[in-house]
Each structure stands twice: as C-alpha cells, then as structure tokens.
Amino acid sequence: MKKIINSIRFTGLVALVALMVTACSDFLNTTPSTSVADTDVFNTIAGAQAALNGSYYHMRAYNGGGANREDDWGIPTIQMMSDVFGEDMIVWNGWYGYDYNYWGHTRGDIFRSSQLWRFHYRLINNVNSIIAYTDNCSGSETEKQHIKGQAHAIRGWAYFNLARLFQQTYIIAKNMPGVPIYLEPTNDQTEGKPRGTLEETYKQIVADLTTAETLLEGFNRGSRINTFDQSVTQGVLAQVYQVMHNWPKCEEYAKKLLNKYPLTTNEQYTGGFSDETVPSWIWGMRQTEEQNMHDYSPFAMWANGTRSCYTFQCFYLADVFVDYFDESDIRFQQIERWWGIIWASYKFRDKDDCRGSIVFMRTEEMLLAAAEACAYQGKEKEAKELLWKLQEMRNATRTEASGNDLLEAIWLERRKEMYGEGHALFDLVRTQKPLVRAGNHDAYGGSHQFPARSWRFIFQIPNTELLNNDALVDDIWPAGDQNPYSGEYKP
C-alpha cells in the first residue's frame, strides 16, 4: 500500500508539472512573425503610408504578376515587353525573345497575359484599401489627402494600362468590352465584375486621375522619383487624352509638364539613361543595393558591352530603324554596327555598380504629345515648332511636311527619341499601324507582318479569369468575353 501512495504522490507531481507547462489559456494563440493583421494597418497615417509604400514596391517587384520568372518585374518588364513587340528592336535569342518573335505570348493560357493581368489587379486591390480606409486613420488631413491622391493616381494608371493591353485602342473600340472595374477593397464575398465597355473603363481612368490631380495639389515627393505626384499624374492624363484623341486636353496637360520640366540635353541624352537626377525625368525608378533587378534589368539586356556585371546582350536595333537616323543625329552616334551584321545601341548604359535608374516618363514625351495634339487640331505651325525644338537639339533634319505626313513624322520622332522606353506596342495599337518587320529582322526569327488592328497586338484575358469570373462568358468575342487571338479587328 505504501508503494501505491508513494507512486501516486510522484505521479501527481509529474502530472502537475506537465500540465502547468501546457495549460496556459493563450497557449493556442499564435501569430505570424512577418505579417500584420489587416485590422492593424489603417489606424494611423503611418500605417496608410506603409500600405502605399507597399504599392510602390509592387510596381517594380519581382513576381508582382505571379509568373515567378525573371521577366516578371513590374513596370520595367512591361516596358521591355512593349518595346520588343514593335519594329525597331531585335532580340537576338535571350529574355523577351518569345515576345519579340510573336511566339504566342498574347495567348490566354500562356503566362504573360496572366502576369500582366494579376500585376495590375493586385495593385488595384491594394490601393482600393488605401482609398477606402485612409480617412479612418488618425493624422493630418493634408497627409491623408496626399496619400489618397497617390492611390487614385495609381489606380487610374493601372486601369489605363489594362485598357491598352487588353483591348483595341479607344477611338475604334469605345463600345467593345473594357476591363472589370473594382473600386472597393476585395473581401471574401467579392464577386467578379463584368468587362463593361471600354468607354466605361476610360471614364474611370479619367475620374481617378483628375481626382488625384486635385488631391495631390501641394504634395512634394522630394527625391522619390518613383512616386506619383501631381506632375506624374498630369503626364499620365496627357497619355490618356492622347489615346482618347481628346487633343485640346492632351495639349493642355502635356504643356503643363513642358512648363515645369526642361528637355533632356544632348549631354544628358548620351549619359546612359541611368541617372534619375537628370531634370527631364518626370517619373522613373531607382535601383539600390537592397532593391534591384539583379541581372534582369533593361541594362542587362542591351548589347553594348559596357556593363560590369553579367549581361545577356540580347537587345539590338533593326537595320530599317537605324536607317531613319541622319548621320549627324547625336542619337545616331549612339549606335554602332557590330560584326558587320547587327546594330548595337549605347543609349542605355548601366551605372558602375549595375544599379542604374530606369526612366518611365520624361519631358520629350510630353513635347511630342503636345506636337501631336497641335497637329491634330490643325495648329501645324506650333506642332512643327515643338518638333523642331527637339530635332534641332539632336542635330536631326527638320521636318517640313504637313498634314498626315507631319503626324507620321512626329510618330517617327517618338520612336527615334524614345526607343527602349516602353512605348512601341502602345503606340502601334494607338496609332493603328501594321507591324512591318523588314530588313534584318528576318535573320533573327522576327520577320512577322501583321495588319493594322491585328488581334495579335492585344492580349487575351487570362483563362483563369474567364473560368472563375461568373460575369464573363468563356467564349471568343463576339460570342463571349475573350479577345480573339489572331485576325484583324474591323471596327
């Protein structure tokens, strides 16, 4: 019996100790170490600012479109992809080569379309929360206004990109399907939205951007070149009105920036396009030691042998494009014939530390937009004066043409001035040009010819969207909501 009593005592002790370790009431409450509860974010203005910072990060982060590939880097990826869809560049076997040779990257079941789609919609959901909750935060009203302004600007810009990538251009496709519009933060009850019409999409774009312009009055972004301030917003508005052929507005907005920002001097132009302190840069991004694109930035793609880090050397210029330059043009002096077969460009040269900055928008684009707007409005003299200003500075021959030729000249000047800055595909669609890949494109698998308004320039909606969005009909337009993959759009 004593044995039993002894052992019971002993047992009691052991059991007690064991239970004490485990019986605390919050034993089962665990929280993640690197995330915060959604309810804790929008308490203070600092929290709202953190959410906004996250959105800016997203715009240049790896895997923002969920493709988990080294050609999924936010805005720089969209720029490179857009450029290689055009006529001016050659990708000699390297990254973006499949975009360049029209292998099929616009298909709804290949990663690119879903990467572009998700990148923008994730961003939209993030800024929707900022727009919805910032007013509840404690903090100064002005700061709130500036945060909301940036969020509206980002949202307007994101819808603008989607509208241009996933549908034919506005003036011929106003009544065609647009893109689904979400204005409230997504929760577990949110249903997919219909495509609506492109006109509705543009209404939202203009509404967001004009709201942002007002809210951003007095906002100073300091040295943060990647931040949407009033100028960037106005620049995007100029682009939007340009697509909409609202020429008076386009002219007005382009000129707002022309008055604020100087042009890129020749010295700056030949400086390598990697320095964000050049005063003509309206919008761009820096790369830092902590946040950079490694060896997948545009600088790592351009073949010119100047980069100190690993370089893919796959971006070149096409013969026919180089032929457009006058020999005296300082921009031509940036181009060099290599091995007697292909043109290499020195326009984009990385910084010594391989962390060069990337330009998204600069004054010349505004100057050319203003010129185009004037030409369309019949103010040819002013259009030419604007154009000449640039041509003279670059030492190129003045354009004397008028009428449609003048427009063509302005568009050509855009290509000459801004190749490699992400405009080619957007301009091809906007100006309803065919793709004519002549000359040595042939030798690099790129000799494709597509008529104007070809569906090959337009991305299909990702298949996952069609399958999981009840508001969409899973069939090819006009039977359903999917964009055709090929063929010509006849408005």
């Binding site: 034993f27 995330s35 959604d38 974010v41 996250g54 997504t186 030691e289 999981n468 359903g480």
Partner: protein, 1030 residues
C-alpha cells in the same frame, strides 16, 4: 484536468488489495522444429499479470496464484500457447507460427495483439525493410503493405518517397500520413532515421487504429518503432554494403550535333514555308540564317546544312557537348552499421552507430550521414520504470541536382560545348595546369550562363542537418493492472545551407560571387500523461486509457547573403563586401488534446473498442479551433468459437468492422484564418506592407469519416490473408475557392467540399515449406481504390490539368483531345465540338478535326481524358531459403492510371536554343506522311508541346524493386571463430522497369497527380554486403 483527477481517484479507490495463496511451477520449453530448448520465452500468469522468461536451457520457474488455471507462453514467431497447469512441472513444445496471428504490434499509444485488434493495420518488419538499399526509410515501404501507395519519384540520395494511405484524403491540404516514431509524432527530418535502427513500421489505416491521433490522423499513421535489446545473451551486429547506382530508367538519348542542326534547319525551313514563302526561298532562308539561329555554330563552315536539308559534306564538327556522359557518372555508395544489444530482468539496451555515404550518380551529389542511437529501459523500482530512445544524426548533402538540372540535361543542345572552345587555336582552351575550362555559355540562346558540372566543381554548397530526437518516459505501476505513464519527447533539427557561388567563373563573376547562408531550426516537444487500466475478470478483459497531451512546434528561419568575394576559396559572409539579402521569420504551431480509449474483450472471441480525442489547434480561430474525433470498432474471432473447434486446419478466422472520424489540420499555412498584410514590401528604405491574405474566421478542420470492414483468415499454418473494404469520406475539405484574378486574389480557402475514397485491398502470405533447411514464403498484396469528389463549392473547378466536378476523381485529366497528325500537311489536329443552338441552350451535335489550336482552347471543346490513379497496385514478394542460401525478390506493380508526360512534351517542339527528343527525327515530312508526330516548324512551335492528349499515356508498369541473393556460412565453420552467423549477399534495387514510360525515357514513378516535373528519377543499384552477428 479536473475530470481526469476524479476518474483517477475513482479508479484507485475501486481497487481491492487481494491476498492470495501462491505456489511455484517449473518447466522447460522446446521448439517443435528442432526439439532444441528455447531461450527467452515469456511465461505469464494472466491472473496476477506476473511473468518470467526462460533461461539458456529453456527452463523457467514462476510463482503463481492459487486460482491460476493455466500459463501463457509467448515467443516472437511462434504460436502463443495457453497451457493448463497440471502438477508442479510443465513440459511445453512450441510450434512456429507461419501465419503470425498472435503477433504483438505497436498501436496508437501502446501495443496490442494483432488477433484482437479491431482496426486495420499492417506491420512491415526489418527483415523486409533492409532488403531495400535506401538512405530514407520511407522509400522502403513500397509494395510492402496493402492500402499504401508509395511513389519513389526521386533518386536523389536521402530523398523521401511520397506516401498515400488509402487514397487522397484532401484536395488542398496535405494528404501525407502522420509519422510516429517510438510512440510520439515525429517532427524531425525523415532521412535522419537510420533504417538499420528500425525494428518495424506499422501502417495504421482506419479510424479505429488512428483516432487517438485525432486532428493529425486523417491520412493514416505510420508508426516507426526502433529496435530494443531482446536477447539475454548480448548481441553484436555488423552490417555493411557497397554498391553502385545508375538511373533506373535512362533519360532519353541526346541528339547528336548533326541531328540537332538538321532539325533546326527543318524547323526554320518549314516555319518559313508556313509564313507563305515558296520552297526555294524557304530552303535558302534556312541555310543562310541557320548560324544566327544556332548562335553558336560548332561546324567549320557558315552554312553547315545545304539547300537539300542535309549536312554539307564539307561540314566538320569542331566541338560539341557530351553533357549526358560528363554529368552522370556512377559512384560508390557505402554503408556501415554496428549495434550492441541485450537485456536482463531489470534493463534492456540497444546501442547503434551507422555511417552511410551515398555519392549518387552526379558529380557533386552526396548524402553522408553519421547516426547514433541509444534505446534504454530500466526498472528503477518495482513500481517505476524509466526509459529513453535517443538518436542523434549528422548529415551532409550536396543538393546541386535540382529539377532545373534535369531540365537542363533533357534540353541542353549538343552544339553547346561543355568546355570553352578557342576558335583561334581550333582546340579547347586550357588553364595553366593543362585542364580544360568549363564553358558557362554566355553566348548561348538557352541555358545561358549554365554549367552544372562547373557549378559542382566551383560552387560546393553543402546542406548540413543535425537532428536530435528523444523519447523519454517514466511509467508507474500502481497495481499490475493500473499504470501511469508520462512521455516527454523532443525533436530538434538544425539545417544549415552553405550556398556559395564563386567570384571568377559563371554568372556570378560579374558581382564577385555570392555567399548565401540559410539556417532552419526547429524544435518541437510533446508532453503527454497517460493512465491505463488493464484487467481480466474471468472471461472479460477491460482496457482503459485516459490521457492528456500538449504539442508545441517552434520553427526559426534565418538567411543572409553577401556578394563580392576578393579571392576564390573564401566561403564565409565576413569575406564578402556587399549585402545582397537578409531574412528571418519565426513560426509557431500548437495543439492541446485530451484523449481516451476503452477496449473490451469477451472470451477471446468478441472485441469492442472505442476512442475519443479532442484537439485544440492554433491554426484556427478561437471560435472554431476545438474538434472532436472518435472511433468505434468491433471484431469477432469466429475461429475461437466452440462450434468451430472441430476445424483444426482453421488457425484463424476473424471478422472486423470500424467507423470513426479523424481530422486534418495540415493547411498550407499556420495562420490561415487571419486577414494579413505582408511586411517587407518596402519602398526602398520606407517600410511598406501589401495585402497577402483575406480574413477567414470560419476556417476549420477537415474531417475524415472512415468505415472499414475486413476478414482475416489463416489455414493449415501455411496460408494467411486479409481482405478489407474501406470507405473514407473526407468532409469540410479546404478548398482554395477560385476567385477571379481581377479581384486581386486567385483563391480563398473554404471548408466546402467532400471527397470519397472507396476501395478494397488484400494481402496474402503463403508458406509452402518451412523446415530448418528449406523455407519458402510468398506474399502478395494489392489495392484498388476509387476517388470521387462528392461535393464542391461550385459546379466545377478548373485545377490545372484537372477539372473538379462532383462524381469525378480529383485527378481526372481534363483537356483537349488530340486528333493525330494530318497526313496531308503534317500538322497537329484537335477535336473541336460542334454545337447547335436550340432555344437558349447550346447542344453538342458533332465534332470535327481542326488544325487551329486556338479554336479549341475554350472549355466547351474539352473533355475528361482519364484518371491518374492506378486501377490496382501492390507488391509480390518471394523469399526462399535453402541450406544457407537465400533468395528473395519483390515486384512492384501498378496497373492503369494516366501520366501526362510533360518531361517528354517539353522536348517535342522546336524552341530556339533547346534540344529535342530523338523522336522528333521521326516527325512528318513529305517523304514520311504516315508519321504519328507532326512536322517540325518554328511557326507552330508554340502549339506542338501544348497540353492535349498527345502526351497523355497509360502508365502501367512493373518494377523489380529488389533482388537479393545471400549465403550464410555454415555454423560449423563460423562457430570456430566465435561467430554466431555470417552472411554475404548481393542486393539489386530497381534492376528492371517495364512500361510505356520507360520507352520515352521517363520514369513511371512521377507523382500521385500523374504529372511530371523534371524530377531526378529513381536510381537502380547493385550492392554487395556482409552481415555479421557475434
């Protein structure tokens, strides 16, 4: 806790101290096989639960209760005997048990007799496990047990097999079983367990067997039990093997540079034609621009292929890359194990040490493990027993051969040299020591800056794992029938990855190389307190278990990388100049549980058992975190009925059934219910957050309702078997309910959906002969199950290659049906459905072939293409022994089931810079219009490898899993050297694979889902071994 104490007090009080008369019984036990005395037979008085063991002469002496009528004799491998007491001396002859009815096996929270067990379980013993050469015990389970599907999809030394017990219990949460090592859930590294230390693996398959593991039991439980000392005479065992391995199914042959060049030319020529150019222009184009397309032209002339599409006779190959042979080379695997074991009446011990060095078949592949184990049990007082099973292992792995390397091996062009070519000298470049220099291929189109061989040589990046697992207990015996046990176990691992990329060669040379350090550290502990009461009252036996358990896991991750190393050979962060990345995080996961079980047995014929467990899990919201799990089981041992006693040949006939509910909380995240913003999304130096998860408060357990009915039999002491029918119904399944990506999310987790697995399984064991000199045993098992989705959150969900729909299998392929090659133009054709509009509905009226892939991409042109789950799978084992020679083999078979061979598909279209499968040479051409493969073309290349039935195959296969031949030297010889036994053997693993996949160069063992992923395939090996017992 209060409840528990009350029960404890009542139990204690209800006990009566009974005094009884005692007397002494002596006797001797011999074996019927050879008449020799048997040592270590357990002799038990079931009335007083007192027991002794026989000595070296087979003799015993035991004090028994006056009322005791009979004594029980048990010995492993022999039939248990209940011998009536007549007089004071007994002579007992024990008979070997070839049908293993009375086997004692490890069950949840204790041990149990197979004969009385109401649940479903299979025991796989060390003799069967050790025939497989593997560094990871999970791989050895394949084919050994019915109901268990093991897919050994990786041939990387040390990798685990993936295991499914009775089908796919979950759609999105884990379907893997719970591993329990020596009685407690295991959180260590699987390959830290030395297979040589394992005594047995018990697979628990139904709710009756697993319900005590509650929330972690839904996918079955695999109990790994390590060895303990069992012989009074101390034992020394030494076992060692040396062997070489190869791929079990060789990768497809690589194209020669000439074949690749000609195929490239054809793709360009045809592509040009497809764009509308005429034949002459197209030929000219291909010949002219071939060198641009190749980018690296290995031939001495600019136009190596002429206008006729053949190699120019003047073309000389200057250099090329024999990647396959350079990279894959068979290397030595060696293993040594030594153990000491023994026991006496107070203690038993087992000490072991093991070393394995498996160099695999790739230059830098390695798995090296040192392991130590001490298993000790000691009777401190007559009421107190303590024990520990503690193991320690240290393993180093080189992990270079990832799926990218296999992808590389399959698609690297032979025109890319392995070593740097110097056009100036017309020879490979050499370094100062006369060695060739690895070519990273900076100018290649595909696989730019890649050279796995160079990486292996320059960038050694070992992963070091230290694992400590300890199981400790103290057990108090209040009364023979009432015991209390506290277990405290800890699993700890520390995994360090020392990544290194050299500063001089390869893609990292631009930034001076990189040092990348990663540490994963995990510590989990489990404490439980168990009270058991086991009592026999006449014909009744009752066993009750009550317990409480707490589990806590802490996982820490730390990573840092710096770049810019000044010299070769420096591999630490201190030496590098620039910060590249730095991360850390910390995860916690906890469970709190109460558990109980009650078993009742009447007349050794009727058995009933029930268990109940309640678990609280940190993974769920406080409102939905507690879940209840239970089971009920019963069995009827018909053969023990009196009316059956005339059938002497019937050794066992048992009917059993069980039903119960177990759970699954293994979601993909620990914090699934919380709405979250991820930190670290900084705008340069300004801290930033981004939405990462939607709040989801109602998320809860997946519950698995399992029904099992089975029949066990044994006849003539030769043939035994078991047939079981099961139905597992998983409900409240976690679904990533797809959301339109435009909402910013692709899915949200919901507990909506049921899935059912229903099947039948059998195992048979037949021992035609069993004598001292000649033994023969055949075992055969098979499993068939069907998976069916019974409820979905929406009509259908597209899940990659599959479409989920009620009534269909989770892995039923869904897609476009391929319609063969058009013999007229060599283009791929697809079936397109034709619909007619009747009123508002579209009705399928017909189908037609189309060459335009884009016409069939929408869902209405797709169909179900077949299930990835095999119809039946299992193993056939044969063991033969004749006068010292033993021969055994095991065949693993899997019949039916589809495989989408993406590994093959990726090689079946032209992509600039990538090589292709030799089958591409057999594609359509004007002179080969009956080809089953299409005409190669750059123009259609984006479609040729697309997902259709084109690459979907029946994946039936047969594999000779192992073949062992051994010879045990005659005892007359070895005993002269004081050696108990010495066996020499040769062992072969996966020597033969038959099936359609093998013909394509694809290993048939890929994944449960029937999809490939450039996995490093399973290897075959031949080893020589020695086994010594002193």
């Amino acid at each position: 806790m209060r409840k528990l104490s009350v029960v404890l007090v009542i139990l204690v009080l209800s006990l009566q101290c009974m005094l009884a008369q005692e007397r002494q019984i002596t006797g001797k036990v011999t074996s019927s096989e050879d008449g020799l005395p048997m040592i270590g037979v357990a002799v038990m008085d079931r009335q007083s639960m007192r027991g002794v063991a026989t000595n070296v002469d087979g003799e015993f002496s035991i004090r028994i209760d006056e009322r005791t009528k009979s004594l029980q004799f048990t010995y492993v491998g022999y039939k248990t005997m209940e011998v009536p007491i007549t007089g004071n001396s007994l002579t007992v002859v024990m008979e070997p048990d070839f049908v293993a009815i009375d086997e004692v096996m490890v069950v949840a929270y204790g041990t149990g007799k197979k004969s009385t067990f109401t649940g479903s379980a299979t025991v796989v013993k060390s003799e069967a496990l050790e025939k497989i050469t593997t560094s990871n015990i999970t791989q050895a389970l394949q084919g050994q047990s019915s109901g268990v599907q093991v897919i050994n999809s990786s041939g990387q030394p040390g990798d685990s097999g993936s295991i499914l017990i009775r089908g796919i219990g979950s759609m999105n949460a884990s379907s893997s079983p719970l591993y329990v090592v020596d009685g407690v859930a295991y959180d260590g590294i699987m390959n830290a367990i030395n297979p040589a230390d394992v005594e047995s693996m018990t697979v628990l398959k139904d709710a009756s067997a697993t319900a005590l593991y509650g929330s972690r039991a839904a996918n079955g439980v695999i109990m790994i039990t390590t060895k303990k000392g069992s012989s009074e005479k101390g034992q020394i065992n030494f076992r060692s093997t040396w062997g070489y391995s190869n791929l079990a199914v060789d990768l497809p042959r690589a194209l020669t540079p000439e074949e690749f060049t000609v195929l490239t030319w054809r793709a360009m020529r045809n592509g040009r034609q497809d764009q509308g150019y005429n034949a002459d222009d197209s030929n000219q184009y291909a010949t002219n621009y071939l060198k641009n397309e190749l980018k690296i032209n290995p031939f001495n002339i600019d136009q190596p292929v002429g206008l006729n599409g053949e190699m120019d006779p003047n073309a000389q190959l200057l250099f090329w890359g024999d990647w396959r042979d350079e990279i894959l080379k068979s290397r030595l695997r060696q293993e040594y194990n030594l153990d000491f074991s023994g026991k006496n009446d107070k203690a038993d011990y087992f000490f072991s040490g093991g070393y394995v060095n498996d160099k695999g078949i790739f230059a830098a592949q390695k798995f090296e493990r040192f392991s130590l184990r001490s298993n000790l049990n000691y009777q401190v007082k007559n009421w107190l027993k303590v024990g520990t099973n503690t193991s320690l292992s240290h393993a180093v792995r080189e992990v270079w051969l990832d799926s990218r390397t296999i992808w590389f091996l399959r698609t690297i062009s032979p025109t890319y040299p392995v070593y740097v070519w110097d056009p100036a000298t017309g020879d490979y470049k050499q370094d100062g020591n006369g060695n060739k220099i690895y070519d990273y291929g900076d100018d290649r189109t595909a696989w730019t800056a890649w050279n796995p061989l160079a990486d292996a040589a320059y960038n050694p990046s070992p992963e070091t794992t230290n694992n400590i697992s300890t199981r400790n207990y103290l057990e108090i015996t209040f009364l023979p029938e009432l015991k209390f046990r506290t277990n405290f176990s800890v699993d700890h691992f520390n995994q360090t990855y020392d990544g290194y990329t050299n500063p001089e060669y390869g893609y990292a040379s631009g930034y001076g190389g990189e040092v990348y350090k990663e540490i994963k550290q995990n510590i989990s502990y489990t404490i439980n307190n168990l009270l058991t009461y086991d009592k026999t009252f006449g014909d009744h036996r009752v066993n009750v278990l009550l317990g409480q358990e707490a589990y806590s896991m802490h996982y820490k991750y730390l990573q840092a990388a710096k770049r810019g190393l000044p010299f070769l050979g420096l591999t630490e962060i201190d030496s590098a100049s620039e910060m590249a990345s730095m991360r850390s995080y910390y995860d916690k996961y906890r469970l709190l549980s109460w558990l109980s079980r009650m078993e009742y047995e009447y007349k050794d014929r009727y058995y009933v058992s029930g268990s109940f467990r309640t678990d609280g899990s940190s993974r769920f919201h406080p409102d939905s975190r507690w879940g209840n799990f239970w089971s009920l089981g019963a069995s009827w041992r018909i053969s023990n009925e009196e009316f059956m006693s005339s059938y002497h040949w019937l050794d066992n006939l048992k009917l059993k059934a069980s039903y119960g509910a177990v759970g699954n909380d293994q979601l993909n995240t620990y914090y699934a219910y919380q709405g979250l913003y991820a930190t670290g999304n900084n705008d340069y130096s300004e801290a930033g957050v981004n939405i990462s998860r939607l709040a989801n408060k109602d998320l809860k357990w997946e519950t698995n309702l399992q029904f099992n009915v089975g029949l066990e039999f044994a006849i003539f002491n030769k043939l035994s078997g078991e047939v079981e029918w099961f139905k597992r119904k998983s409900k409240d399944l976690l679904f990533g309910m797809p959301m339109a990506p435009s909402t910013g999310f692709s899915s949200i987790d919901r507990n909506i959906g049921d899935v059912q697995n229903q099947g039948i399984e059998f195992q048979l064991s037949y021992t035609p002969f069993h004598s001292k000199d000649f033994r023969w045993n055949i075992a055969f098992n098979g499993t068939h199950y069907k998976n069916k989705i019974t409820k979905l959150p929406q009509d259908e969900i597209n899940a990659g290659y599959f479409k989920w729909r009620e009534g269909e299998s989770r892995y039923n392929f869904w897609g476009i049906e391929y319609a063969g090659v058009n013999p007229e133009n060599g283009r791929d054709q697809y079936w397109k459905n034709i619909y007619e509009k009747v009123g508002d509905e579209e009705i399928l009226v017909d189908r037609e072939k189309t060459e335009n892939y884009n016409e069939v991409t929408s869902d209405k042109h797709k169909k179900y293409l077949g299930d990835a789950i095999p119809k039946i799978f299992g193993g056939l084992t044969n063991n033969l022994y004749y006068k010292g020679i033993d021969l055994s083999f095991m065949l693993y078979y899997s019949i039916g089931g589809k495989l989408y061979d993406g590994d093959y598909a990726q090689m079946m279209s032209y992509r600039t810079g990538y090589s292709m499968h030799p089958d591409m040479l057999k594609g359509w051409s004007e002179s080969n219009t009956n080809a089953s493969l299409p005409r190669i073309s750059t123009y259609y290349s984006s479609y040729m490898g697309s997902y259709t039935t084109k690459f979907l195959y029946d994946n039936s296969f047969l594999r000779l899993r192992n073949l062992t031949v051994g010879y045990t030297l005659p005892k007359s010889l070895t005993s002269r050297f004081d050696i108990n036994s010495l066996r020499l053997f040769v062992q072969g693993d996966n020597l033969l694979t038959l099936g359609s996949a093998q013909k394509r160069g694809t290993d048939p063992e890929q994944s449960v889902s029937g999809t490939t992923g450039n996995r490093f395939p399973t290897t075959q090996s031949i080893s020589f071994g020695i086994q010594l017992n002193l």
